[in-house]
């Protein structure tokens, strides 16, 4: 939805270098991923109007929030942003409900308490309304912060490392809840993280940030199938990501059958219902390339395709081969020796061999 799109363009040489352009449409989740100190939080603060870089253009829908060229600057309290801060930044002297009510200034006074109760119920905290932040667990604080951010009926939701301070189990649940919210809210959502699992689980789009500069930006599946991102390769390892549908379950074989834009995959059975969309990640290191379909292996997945790109980074021994399998692009990391022996070049027909246990299945309710 272009009319609710967030578009951001930032330029600054110092003190925090910035060189970033991106847009994020309603219903999309843009993850800004990069090492700490790369300027991720500064980008969020700029969108909220809490930081003024030398050159900034921030537009949300048809409203201009910042335009240094046109000398437009809306102060933070005039921007409809929901901001979930890294350490939540709850008001310690107010109860959970009080925190949420603080962000309900646009509503009539008489409605605020009921509305705060609704919002806290929405984030699964119906019974902790009168507790102060100190009396809440990390996950509960996170939920209050989320309720407070939503209270303003924001045009943009900004999340700064939202799961950094909670343990693993809580993190999974919160990720699912935010994913659920994303679909009901229908506003642009920008997520800053240095944990790639957050990206895989939540993002529809990805911006890779290195020292304030956008290294790459685009839809997650496209970006994840690019063979030429050495920085990403170093940080998390390359691996293609795409969505697939659970077509059938084979409980007797302990497998699920997934259909995707390039064929069928067999993966170990998981608690997923038939018909649901799942996200699949196949690490490039786990893919074997074969000139012909082999027989007599324990293997379940041999996908035919053609090589669409071969990328060698200077100083790195292994080569990244990108292979078109239907409309999906798979990545495989192989040695230079393998490239020569199989005479791999663009257009070479190959089979990609993938062990079913190498497939990362990320469940997301559709």
């Amino acid at each position: 939805m272009a009319d609710r799109r967030l578009s951001v363009s930032l330029r600054q040489p110092a003190p925090i270098p910035l060189e970033v352009d991106f847009t994020c449409d309603a219903g999309d989740v843009l993850a800004i991923f990069g090492p700490s100190g790369s300027g991720k939080t500064t980008i969020l603060r700029t969108i909220a109007g809490l930081y003024k870089p030398e050159h900034a253009r921030v537009r949300a829908g048809d409203e201009t929030w910042s335009d240094t060229g046109g000398r437009v600057f809306a102060p933070p309290h005039r921007r409809a942003v929901g901001f979930v801060f890294q350490e939540y930044a709850l008001f310690p002297h107010l109860s959970a409900a009080g925190n949420v009510i603080t962000a309900l200034g646009h509503r009539p006074r008489s409605e605020r308490r009921a509305r705060a109760r609704d919002l806290l119920s929405l984030v699964h905290l119906p019974d902790q309304q009168d507790r102060r932040p100190q009396e809440l667990s990390g996950g509960e604080r996170q939920r209050v912060a989320l309720a407070r951010a939503l209270a303003r009926e924001p045009a943009v939701l900004l999340l700064d490392e939202p799961f950094a301070a909670v343990d693993r189990g809580v993190r999974r649940r919160l990720q699912d809840e935010i994913d659920e919210l994303r679909r009901t809210l229908d506003i642009p959502l920008v997520l800053v993280t240095h944990d790639f699992e957050d990206v895989i689980r939540l993002a529809t789009h990805l911006l890779l940030l290195d020292r304030g500069r956008a290294v790459a930006c685009g839809a997650l599946p496209e970006l994840m199938s690019r063979p030429d991102l050495p920085w990403l390769r170093e940080a998390v390892g390359l691996g293609s990501v795409f969505d697939a549908v659970v077509a059938r379950k084979h409980p007797e074989r302990g497998l699920v059958e997934l259909t995707f834009d390039g064929g069928v995959l067999l993966a170990p059975e998981r608690a997923v219902a038939t018909g649901t969309t799942v996200r699949v990640r196949i690490p490039a290191r786990e893919v074997i390339l074969a000139a012909s379909e082999p027989a007599g292996l324990s293997l379940h997945n041999a996908l035919p395709g053609t090589v669409s790109a071969v990328h060698a980074d200077p100083g790195v021994d292994n080569v990244i081969v990108q292979m078109a399998v239907g409309r999906v692009r798979l990545l495989a990391e192989v040695t230079r020796d393998a490239i020569e022996r199989l005479r791999i070049g663009v257009g070479t027909p190959l089979h990609a061999l993938i062990k079913s246990v190498s497939i990362d299945l990320i469940t997301r309710s559709a």
């Binding site: 930044a89 709850l90 310690p92």
Partner: protein, 222 residues
């Protein structure tokens, strides 16, 4: 017991708080949240009354209050009486002498509020004034309370500045601490002892009030 002196002392303490606290909150917060060139110098200047001998401070104040100074002339023109050796002059001098006791605790109080919390208040749609009233002032409250108590206690005990600027006019500028000195000069040990005990009692009561209030604040915070 010199009841007039007690009255002057209490009025001076309360008046100094009333005069100084609003400015102290404004200025202490400014020092806490803003970075500007020359901030170190400003912070040093704020602290000066703390390290100067009271007589030195009193001397400079007396000179700047005098009829030959612009301030002294202005006051004379408006009030029809000179500023030195009046309660008003004493109040102004007391306010200046207490600047560090007010500004520093308030500055620390506002500095203790994390930047994210202030930012979150802005992102909740609160205007700068609403942020101050609903978020910042309640959180900086212990610092503001400390500033008020310190000012009151320090004003009751101030001697050098009072004597230099106010002199020793009964009912006008003679405070309890000056009255004690005055009685001792006249070998009236009994009166001096009663008044000293009164000051001691006020000091203890003040500290007890502070402790109770700050406990209540920290309990409220959980």
């Amino acid at each position: 017991m010199d009841w007039d002196a007690l009255r002057v002392s209490l009025w001076l303490g309360a008046g100094t708080i009333a005069l100084l606290l609003p400015w102290g909150i404004w200025f202490g917060r400014l020092l806490a949240v803003r970075e500007f060139r020359g901030k170190l110098l400003v912070e040093a200047l704020v602290t000066v009354p703390l390290v100067l001998p009271p007589t030195v401070l009193g001397f400079y104040l007396l000179v700047s209050f005098g009829v030959r100074s612009p301030l002294g002339q202005a006051f004379q023109a408006v009030a029809g009486q000179p500023l030195p050796f009046s309660f008003e002059g004493l109040l102004l001098a007391s306010a200046i002498a207490n600047i560090p006791f007010v500004v520093q605790p308030i500055q620390r109080g506002f500095e203790a509020i994390p930047l994210d919390v202030r930012d979150a208040a802005a992102c909740c749609g609160l205007t700068p004034w609403q942020r101050f009233v609903r978020i910042e002032a309640p959180l900086a409250w212990p610092g503001i309370l400390t500033a008020a108590i310190l000012t009151f206690a320090h004003t009751l005990g101030e001697f050098g500045v009072v004597l230099m600027v106010g002199g020793n006019l009964p009912g006008e500028t003679r405070t309890l601490s000056v009255a004690i000195y005055d009685r001792m000069q006249a070998f009236d040990d009994r009166s001096a002892g009663v008044m000293a005990a009164a000051l001691l009692a006020i000091a203890v009561a003040t500290l007890m009030a502070t402790t109770t209030l700050s406990r209540r604040v920290s309990r409220r915070r959980g």
